[in-house]
């Protein structure tokens, strides 16, 4: 027999083809027998696009983070324990009393009017004026990414994204067989000069990206924010070249310092920018509610796509959201969340300064959930993850945020999902292994590690080195149009 397709084999590495059903506890009765022969048979049924939908060694390693003794700085979870259970109970009771039958019924594909009004209010809070009629309610922000791809992408079409990009968008882009081109970033977000150079180059090759995917505010995974000047320039570029921008904005409301910046959607006035929002980080990911705001023709196609995918977003959780916002508690809850995450961010930044060696650099986010750290280029963070897991701490290796193999010496750290003590201890352990590996490399090559900083103040990242996100580039673009 020859097995060509269908999943993962286990040779020397004994890696799993599929993940075990999480609902199935060890010891419970299982399914029928399946074998490589069966897999081969199913493989003939799979669409060609599933060829790129494979699991990875990195994902398999992450299985260990489900164990309670592991401090996971790998997730992207908000801390839902902060939401008062009494409030949940009271709001749900109100939904039951006022709208039981509606909550249990199908709803409109575009979402219930009152929920869309709530979304318009939320967006008004960040400065963007939106007509509730232009809002499509979705199953989380993730569905917006999927719907936009479904609507715009034929196999081989180009999507331009940041490098690094949101790791959760990678499987979506792959599933639609997009050709993703990633643009380097620095502390001011995506390099618009490089973007323009790439667009020029694509145009010379007769190609035009279908859309530019960006998380401009507190980017996942980099933690950086697109500057106002670059926002303006990006919107100009989109308008001049008539390219759609998908602005993914899950974290905009989670600002811990500095002044809010206008969204791309607001700057553009809804011509070439589609906006993806979500309640996941500002209320609950469990309610699975996000939304899209887009130019009408695009919105209509997204709506058709959503009909085929989910028929309608959950009326149950939509009514919960509307009823909750009607209580007026949301603003106060957001203040609490911001205070909590600000402290956790500060704890992580302090811990990084205290424990990471001078060779390492990291971003200093003004909001959001993530910090992106970069180590010397001879360290591979996927290998480092294995070592970290042996010390019961986890992070996301940087490769997860690239489709082209870059990011090998970077890592993403989350500060919203762990308490301050765990953050400090987790970063201490990571610092320890990084120092050990640097020392080992020094011993192997005769290059001693950087001299430790003078005692006293903890080492601060050198501002000159803060340009950590300018990663090796594919090409040398002209820089005359840098929007900085």
């Amino acid at each position: 027999m020859t097995v060509e397709d269908g999943g993962r084999a286990t040779g020397d590495d004994q890696r799993a083809m599929g993940r075990p059903d999480p609902a199935r506890r060890p010891g419970t009765p299982g399914r029928g027998s399946s074998s490589a022969r069966d897999l081969e048979r199913y493989a003939g049924l799979f669409a060609s696009r599933t060829r790129v939908m494979t699991s990875s060694a990195m994902r398999d390693l992450m299985a260990i983070t489900e164990r309670p003794d592991v401090i996971s700085l790998a997730g992207g979870l908000p801390d839902t324990a902060t939401f008062p259970a009494e409030t949940l109970a009271a709001v749900m009771a109100r939904v039951a009393v006022d709208s039981s039958a509606r909550a249990l019924q199908y709803g409109p594909t575009e979402g219930m009017l009152q929920t869309r009004e709530t979304i318009a209010q939320v967006m008004a809070g960040s400065g963007a004026s939106v007509d509730p009629g232009d809002v499509l309610v979705t199953a989380g922000g993730q569905q917006v990414i999927d719907l936009v791809c479904k609507t715009l992408i034929d196999p081989g079409d180009v999507i331009v994204a940041e490098g690094p990009t949101y790791p959760g968008a990678v499987p979506t882009f792959c599933a639609y067989q997009a050709d993703v081109v990633q643009i380097a970033m620095d502390e001011d977000g995506m390099r618009i000069d490089e973007l323009e150079a790439v667009l020029d180059e694509l145009e010379q090759g007769g190609r035009r990206p279908k859309f530019i995917y960006t998380v401009p505010t507190f980017q996942n995974p980099a933690g950086v924010t697109l500057s106002l000047a670059r926002r303006r320039r990006l919107v100009e570029v989109a308008q001049q070249r008539e390219i759609l921008v998908l602005e993914d904005d899950p974290y905009g409301a989670l600002r811990y310092e500095g002044d809010a910046l206008p969204t791309l959607y607001e700057l553009d006035g809804g011509q070439f920018v589609a906006y993806a929002g979500t309640f996941s980080k500002i209320l609950s990911p469990g309610i699975r509610l996000g939304w899209a705001v887009a130019p009408r023709p695009v919105l209509e196609k997204l709506n058709l796509g959503a009909q085929g995918a989910t028929l309608c977003p959950s009326p149950f959780t939509q009514l919960f959201v509307s009823a909750y916002f009607a209580t007026g508690h949301w603003d106060g809850y957001m203040d609490e969340l911001r205070d909590l995450y600000r402290s956790r961010r500060d704890a992580m930044l302090d811990a990084l300064s205290a424990h990471l060696p001078p060779e390492a650099t990291w971003t200093r986010p003004q909001g959001g959930l993530f910090i992106w750290a970069t180590l010397p280029d001879y360290l591979d963070t996927t290998d480092l993850l294995a070592l970290a897991l042996s010390r019961n701490v986890a992070f996301v290796p940087g490769r997860a945020a690239f489709l082209d193999g870059r990011g090998a010496s970077s890592l993403r750290l989350n500060f919203s999902g762990s308490g301050e003590d765990d953050i400090r201890e987790g970063v201490r352990r990571i610092g320890e292994i990084v120092r050990e590996q640097i020392e080992l490399y020094g011993a192997l090559t005769g290059h001693p590690p950087c001299a430790p900083p003078a005692s006293g103040a903890p080492p601060q990242p050198d501002p000159e080195l803060a340009d950590v996100l300018t990663l090796p580039r594919r090409r040398e673009p002209g820089r005359e149009r840098d929007a900085r």
Binding site: M1, G7, D383, L440, Y441, A443
Partner: protein, 313 residues
């Protein structure tokens, strides 16, 4: 099937191969259920001993991969508890888990295995082993394969095409193991022989796709490599391969079931044993089940036989 046995199926744990082990364990449980036994899956952790005492199993099926499962630690504990279990005893596990030790034992048994040099973290840090890196070129030539001495998966294995690539490859491998093997590269066909009791099952050949040649993970990923079973090789060579695998398993003291990985040198036609796995993967796409299918045995009969061998000793 005679009487229903209470079988504890050990899986998961803290190993880097936890995920694979959970899949292997689930499949073994399913097979045991179909065979009329009473399997209980246990994700191993701090409560392992009380759970085993409470269950008082007739036999323990060890479906763990990687550290704790394959290094002999669990088997030692099962010996202490006086429980019968599948697969190899502690010494057999320890000897195959440590690739450096395994290489020595294979050499002593006149089993051909590629030349290698060993670097330990201590030697690098404390004893100036870096000054001896030049020996890699003199003794082995390039390219070399750099691999952690103790790691069950392809993780951390790298090619180094020249001296400049050695330190980076060593650093990667040291992430998994304090000892690292730098092995002469053999350009060969990749063969795996699964051993069940005293028998060698049909040979599996892994053929990596060309563009993934330098990616060790890809070599064992269906879709990025092809697997042929039985391998399309000359009958005489196949018999010699199986014989060598059985000799290797004996030299290392492996029992019950195991898998031996070999290379068939494309130039010289010689066989070289790379390593042996005390508890190879048992997932839908693992090589041992593939071989069991090709032998006409099937997975359930393999599991039945593994249990029978455990009870017979």
């Amino acid at each position: 099937m005679t009487t229903a046995l209470r079988v504890a199926v050990l899986q998961g744990g803290r190993s880097l191969e936890r995920q694979v082990s959970l899949v292997s364990g689930a499949r073994v449980e399913d097979a045991l259920g179909r065979l009329g036994h009473e399997p209980t899956g246990i994700d191993i952790g701090h409560d392992l001993v009380p759970r085993l005492r409470e269950l008082n199993p007739d036999v323990v099926f060890v479906a763990l991969h990687g550290r704790d499962g394959e290094d002999g630690a669990i088997q030692e504990l099962l010996e202490v508890l006086g429980l019968r279990y599948t697969g190899s005893r502690p010494a057999g596990c320890a000897r195959s888990w440590d690739k450096v030790l395994a290489k020595e034992l294979l050499r002593e048994a006149d089993v051909p295995t590629p030349d290698a040099l060993v670097f330990s973290e201590t030697a690098v840090k404390e004893l100036g082993a870096a000054d001896a890196l030049g020996a890699v070129e003199e003794r082995l030539g390039f390219p070399v394969v750099v691999k952690p001495a103790c790691q069950g998966s392809a993780l951390g294995i790298r090619f180094a095409a020249c001296g400049a690539e050695v330190p980076g490859a060593l650093i990667a491998a040291f992430s998994y193991s304090e000892k690292v093997l730098v092995e002469r590269y053999v350009h060969g066909r990749e063969l795996a022989v699964s051993v069940l009791g005293d028998e060698a099952l049909p040979i599996v050949e892994a053929v990596p796709h060309e563009d993934d040649f330098y990616d060790f993970e890809a070599r064992y990923t269906i879709g990025r490599a092809s697997f042929h079973c039985p391998a399309e090789i000359d009958a005489g060579v196949a018999a010699a391969t199986q014989d060598l695998a059985l000799r290797s398993a004996r030299a290392l003291g492996l029992e019950g079931f195991a898998r031996v990985d070999l290379l068939l040198d494309r130039q010289s036609g010689e066989l070289q044993v790379l390593e042996a796995n005390a508890i190879p993967g048992l997932t839908e796409t693992s090589l041992l089940p593939l071989a069991a299918d090709a032998a006409g045995l099937g997975f359930d009969a393999f599991v039945a036989r593994a249990v029978e061998l455990a009870l017979a000793r």
